[in-house]
C-alpha cells in the first residue's frame, strides 16, 4: 500500500522540474480520484503525482466525540494501477511532476494529461504549468534523523 506521509512520493530532484497542476472545480470523492489517477497512470514521463486536499482524519480528533472512528466515506483504499492506495484526503488538486527534456515533450505530456482529466473529471478543472512544490529538502524533512 502507498504510504501517506507529507513527503513527496519520489525523492526531491533538487531542481525545479516542471509540474502540471490539475485544479479541480470541486473537491473530488474517492471514486473520481481513483478514476483520475488510473487515467494518469499509463502516461509516460510522469515522475510523480502528489495530491492535495482536505484532511479526513481516521478518528474524531477533538471534542466530546474524541477517539471514536470518523468513518468518512471518502477515506478509503482505492486501486491505482493495481496497487492499493489508502486515501486520507478529499482531493482538490493533483501536482504532476514531469520528467521531460524539452518544450515539445512537455506539450505532448500535458496534452495527454488534459485528455485523461477531461475523461474523468466531468465537473471541470483548470490546468496550470509551473513549479508548485518543494524541490529541495527543508527542515521538516530532517526530522527524526
Amino acid at each position: 500500500m502507498i504510504s501517506m506521509s507529507g513527503k513527496p512520493a519520489a525523492d526531491y530532484a533538487g531542481i525545479p522540474l516542471p509540474e502540471v497542476e490539475i485544479f479541480s472545480n470541486n473537491m473530488l470523492g474517492a471514486d473520481t480520484t481513483e478514476k483520475v489517477l488510473n487515467a494518469l497512470e499509463p502516461i509516460e514521463h510522469i515522475r510523480q503525482i502528489n495530491m492535495t486536499g482536505e484532511s479526513l482524519s481516521k478518528n474524531i480528533n477533538n471534542g466530546p466525540a474524541k477517539g471514536i472512528p470518523n468513518n468518512h466515506s471518502e477515506r478509503k483504499v482505492i486501486k491505482v494501477g493495481g496497487r492499493d492506495v489508502e486515501l486520507c484526503y478529499l482531493v482538490g488538486a493533483f501536482y504532476i511532476e514531469l520528467d521531460v527534456e524539452d518544450e515539445e515533450m512537455l506539450n505532448a505530456v500535458v496534452a495527454q494529461i488534459t485528455e485523461a482529466c477531461e475523461a474523468t473529471m466531468p465537473m471541470g478543472f483548470s490546468v496550470n504549468i509551473g513549479r508548485f512544490s518543494k524541490f529541495r529538502k527543508s527542515l521538516r524533512d530532517y526530522r527524526g534523523e
Binding site: 507529507g6 492535495t52 484526503y89 482538490g92 512537455l106 465537473m123 496550470n128 504549468i129 509551473g130
Partner: protein
C-alpha cells in the same frame, strides 16, 4: 484590470519557469462556476531548457509504478524567492533565521561618541584625535565580545561563542570617517545609493555614533535590557584602556551614563502591565522597524519590495515572536502570520496598488492627503481588488483559508496603497480600517473576535495625534493600546510607514541612525533579503550566531 494582460503574481510565482498566457488565466482559470477549461499554451522558457539539460534527477523505482503522494497543503513559497518550505519550517522555534533577525535587532545599541569625547577633552584634559579613536575602537572590539582589558585575573568569554560581537562607527562627517580604520566603519557612501547617502549624512550630521553589537548569546541568556548594560560596561573598559585612565576616577561614570542613557535602544520601554523590560520587540516603533529593513537600499527601484520585506519581517518578529510567543505563549501564530510573506498573494495586491496609483495619479505622493474622498476611492478600489481575488480564485481562498488571513492581507494592501499615494503613513492606516469595515460589510465575515475589538474602532484613532489618543504611525508600535493583543496586524502596520517613506523617496522612515546601523554587512541576518533569509532558515542553509557547539562535547 480590464483589457490588461496583467499577471497575478501569485500565479506567476507558481509558473516561474513555465509560463502560460496570462490573459487565459485572467479569464478562465480557477473561476468558481466557470467550468471552461483553458488549453495549455505553454511557453517553455530558456531557464527550463537549461534545467532540463543540466539536471541529474534521481530516478524513481520503476517497479512500483508512478509514485503517488498526498498531503493537506502545498508547501509555502517565500514571496519573491524560489524557496519552498513547510509551515513547520516557518515556526519561529524551528527557524534559525527568524530567531537571528530578532537576535540582531535586540543585540544592537547605538551609542554616541560625542559625549564621552567631550568628557575626555574637557573634564580630563586629554586630546581626542582620529588616532585615539582608532585605538579606542580596537580596544572596544576586544572588550565587547567579552575580552578583559583593565584588570588582571579576569575570566574571558570563549571567542567561538561570541564571534558575532563587534563595534563599528558611522557619521555624516566624511572627513572624519576617512580617517577612521575602515574595518570599523559602516560606510554610508559605499552602502547607500547616492541620494539616500546624502539624506542620511545630512540627517546624522557631524556626530560620531557607534553601532554596538553585543554577542547574540548575551541577549538570549539575559534579556533585551541587558544589551545596554553589557555595552556600557565594555565601552567604559575600552575607554579606560585606550585613553590610559584610572579606573576609579569619577569621570568614568560619564562613559557608562552616556552608553546607558544617551543611546538608542531598538525597543522603547513598555508599561509595567506588559511585564517586559526595555529593548524587547513590543517596544520597537514601526518607524524604527521600517528603518531596519534594507531592501530599498539594495533595490532602490523597487519600492514594493521594500514594503513587502518590511511586512515579512514584521510578521516574523512582531506577530510570530512577540505576540505569538512573548504575549500569547504556546505554539505561536505561524500559519496566520506567514500568510503575509508567502505565496506572493500580498505581492500581487501591492504591485496592483502601485500600478493603480501610477495610472490614477501619475506617481507616488501625488494624491493630496487633504482630498479625503479621493483617498477613500483609492482604498475602495484596492480593497475591492484584493477581496475579488479571493472570490474569483478558489486556490487563493483556500491558501488563506481563515478570514483573519484574508482580512490582514487585504487591509495591508489597502493601507500600503493609501500611504504610497499620499506619502503619509496615517492616510495608509486610515485605509487599513476602511478595508476592514468594507470587508465585513461585503462578505459578512471578517476574522476572529479580535477584529471586532481592534479593526472596527480603528478608523477613529487613525488620525488622532493627541498623546492620550493617538500617535503618528511612524512612532506607534506593537504596544499601541489596540495593537497589543491582536496577532496578524503588526506585519501590515510595519509596512505602512515604510510605504509612505519609500514612496516619498526618503532614505529613512523614522531614524537615520538605525537605518545606517542595519546596512552593516557584518550582521548575521541580511536585512535586505528578509524572505530569502527566512527561506534559507527553512532549508537548513542559514547559519545563526551564538551557537554553543564550541563548549559542548560532540
Amino acid at each position: 484590470m480590464a483589457g490588461k494582460a496583467k499577471e497575478k503574481l501569485f500565479m506567476e510565482a507558481c509558473k516561474k519557469k513555465f509560463k502560460e498566457d496570462p490573459t487565459d488565466m485572467e479569464t478562465k482559470y480557477y473561476c468558481y462556476g466557470g467550468w471552461k477549461q483553458s488549453k495549455s499554451k505553454v511557453e517553455f522558457q530558456k531557464s527550463a531548457d537549461a534545467i532540463a539539460k543540466k539536471r541529474g534527477v534521481p530516478m524513481m523505482n520503476e517497479d512500483i509504478g508512478v509514485p503517488l503522494g498526498q498531503r493537506l497543503m502545498m508547501p509555502y513559497q517565500l514571496s519573491h524567492t524560489d524557496i519552498y518550505v513547510e509551515a513547520d519550517d516557518l515556526h519561529c522555534i524551528n527557524n534559525p533565521a527568524i530567531q537571528q533577525a530578532w537576535d540582531d535587532i535586540r543585540r544592537t545599541i547605538l551609542v554616541g561618541l560625542d559625549s564621552p569625547h567631550a568628557t575626555i577633552e574637557k573634564r580630563l584634559g586629554k586630546e581626542v584625535t582620529p588616532e585615539t579613536i582608532n585605538t579606542y575602537l580596537e580596544s572596544v572590539n576586544h572588550t565587547m565580545p567579552g575580552g578583559a582589558i583593565v584588570q588582571e585575573h579576569m575570566a574571558e568569554c570563549n571567542p567561538a561563542l561570541v564571534a558575532d560581537s563587534y563595534v563599528k562607527v558611522f557619521s555624516g562627517d566624511d572627513e572624519l570617517i576617512d580617517e577612521i580604520d575602515p574595518r570599523f566603519v559602516i560606510d554610508i557612501n559605499k552602502l547607500f545609493p547616492k541620494e539616500q547617502a546624502k539624506q542620511l549624512k545630512q540627517a546624522i550630521g557631524k556626530t560620531l555614533t557607534q553601532a554596538v553589537r553585543v554577542p547574540t548569546m548575551v541577549g538570549r541568556l539575559m534579556d533585551g535590557a541587558t544589551v545596554s548594560r553589557h555595552a556600557a560596561m565594555q565601552i567604559s573598559m575600552a575607554f579606560i584602556s585606550a585613553y590610559k585612565l584610572a579606573a576609579g576616577e569619577a569621570a568614568i561614570a560619564d562613559f557608562a551614563y552616556a552608553a546607558k542613557h544617551q543611546s538608542i535602544n531598538m525597543g522603547t520601554m513598555m508599561p509595567a502591565r506588559r511585564a517586559r523590560g526595555p529593548n524587547e520587540p513590543g517596544g520597537i516603533p514601526f518607524g524604527f522597524f521600517a528603518d531596519m529593513v534594507q531592501s530599498d537600499r539594495v533595490y532602490p527601484d523597487d519600492p514594493g519590495r521594500a514594503v513587502l520585506e518590511t511586512v515579512g519581517l514584521g510578521a516574523a518578529v512582531f506577530d510570530q515572536i512577540y505576540l505569538g510567543g512573548y504575549m500569547s505563549g504556546g505554539v505561536g501564530f505561524t500559519q496566520y502570520a506567514s500568510a503575509t510573506y508567502t505565496d506572493n498573494i500580498l505581492e500581487d495586491y501591492v504591485y496592483h496598488a502601485i500600478d493603480t496609483i501610477k495610472d490614477k495619479y501619475g506617481g507616488f505622493c501625488k494624491l493630496d492627503p487633504k482630498n479625503y474622498d479621493e483617498l477613500l476611492k483609492l482604498g475602495d478600489d484596492i480593497n475591492s481588488y484584493a477581496l475579488e481575488m479571493y472570490e474569483r480564485y478558489p486556490a487563493v481562498m483556500e491558501t488563506h483559508f481563515g478570514g483573519s488571513q484574508r482580512a490582514t492581507v487585504a487591509a495591508a494592501a489597502t493601507g500600503v496603497a493609501g500611504a504610497m499615494a499620499t506619502g503619509i503613513a496615517d492616510c495608509g492606516l486610515n485605509c487599513w480600517y476602511l478595508s476592514m469595515l468594507q470587508h465585513k460589510e461585503r462578505t459578512g465575515r471578517l476574522g476572529f473576535y479580535g477584529f471586532d475589538l481592534q479593526d472596527q474602532c480603528g478608523s477613529a484613532n487613525s488620525f488622532a495625534y493627541r498623546s492620550d489618543e493617538g500617535l503618528p504611525m511612524e512612532v506607534r508600535g506593537p504596544n499601541y493600546p489596540n495593537y497589543a493583543m491582536n496577532v496578524g496586524h503588526l506585519s501590515g502596520y510595519s509596512g505602512i510607514p515604510k510605504a509612505a517613506h519609500v514612496a516619498r523617496g526618503d532614505a529613512f522612515t523614522a531614524n537615520p541612525f538605525i537605518r545606517v546601523a542595519f546596512a552593516d554587512p557584518s550582521l548575521v541576518f541580511d536585512f535586505a533579503n528578509v524572505t530569502k533569509e527566512i527561506g534559507r532558515g527553512g532549508l537548513r542553509e542559514f547559519v545563526p550566531a551564538g551557537e554553543r557547539t564550541a563548549v559542548i562535547k560532540g
